[in-house]
Subunit: 138 residues, 2 copies
DNA sequence: TACAAGGTTGTAATTATTACAAAATGCAAA
DNA sequence: TTTGCATTTTGTAATAATTACAACCTTGTA
């Protein structure tokens, strides 16, 4: 589902409880960051952003929270860096574009599912990564 | 380019020299393995396969050779495992399917380029990964 | 035959991530 | 309000894949 850009603490609390996740301060802040800053961050990027305002935050909390959210279907793991995991709060079917100049990752809101071919295998999941020069850099 | 299944030592030598790579024994054996066994191996998989017949082979050689080949455009790096790099000797435009049951990786010979949408960004490269149950497992 | 350039090897370092145990927190029952 | 328990967070240590690097080998050439 696609979401409004910002969801405030109370709404995030409700949402987490709905998903069976107890709404700790850290989890709320991490979720808030993801809805506010749609930058498909890695765990490390998120940690570096939040550590300024949450000096006791640990990397382990960031990793475990992101994995928890992903396992509950609230986040998608994306692998547009090759080996590094980045996270996308938008779990709808869409593709990703990464600018090889500025490094920014953009969503491309076309369903890959409809475009891609039928095969002799049973396809359950699809990931499409596009690379090139973004509209801002060219 | 797509290749015949097996290219023998002399042909591999020629090919490596053409690409500006000196044809050492290790490089020939690694290239031979890739053309003979089209299993999209990781560095580790390749190392484990070859160490039986080449007892002094080191992991470092496998990694550096695969990176050399990839940088010369003779191999494609594929990221269908998330965290692990695998290599494909077929550098033509095509997609990859991974069976989540048996782990095998298949080529899907459709050009993603033609199927995928135009965007406001300049797309130079595309990677498509499909996941599901393969024809053998279902 | 000796030398230089380049290739291979093994070990150590690095990076991203997970495992784990101790400390902190929140909540419910007494 | 305190006690106790379950859960969460934290920090450190471990792991996995990969790269850096220096020493050792090979090979071709003068």
């Amino acid at each position: 589902m696609k979401r409004e850009n910002r969801i405030y603490a109370e709404e995030i609390k409700k949402l987490l409880i709905e998903k069976g996740i107890s709404p700790s301060y850290q989890r709320i802040r991490i979720f808030d960051f993801l809805t506010t800053n749609r930058i498909h961050p890695s765990a490390e990027m998120l940690y570096l952003q939040l550590i300024g305002e949450m000096p006791t935050l640990s990397r382990t909390t960031v990793y475990s929270t992101l994995n928890l959210f992903a396992d509950k279907g609230m986040l998608k793991r994306i692998f547009i860096e090759g080996t590094l995991v980045r996270f996308d709060i938008d779990t709808s079917d869409h593709m990703h574009f990464k600018c090889t100049k500025c490094g920014e990752v953009f969503d491309i809101f076309k369903s890959a599912k409809k475009l891609l071919p039928k095969t002799e295998h049973k396809v359950i999941n699809e990931e499409v990564y596009l690379y090139g020069i973004c509209k801002n850099c060219k």
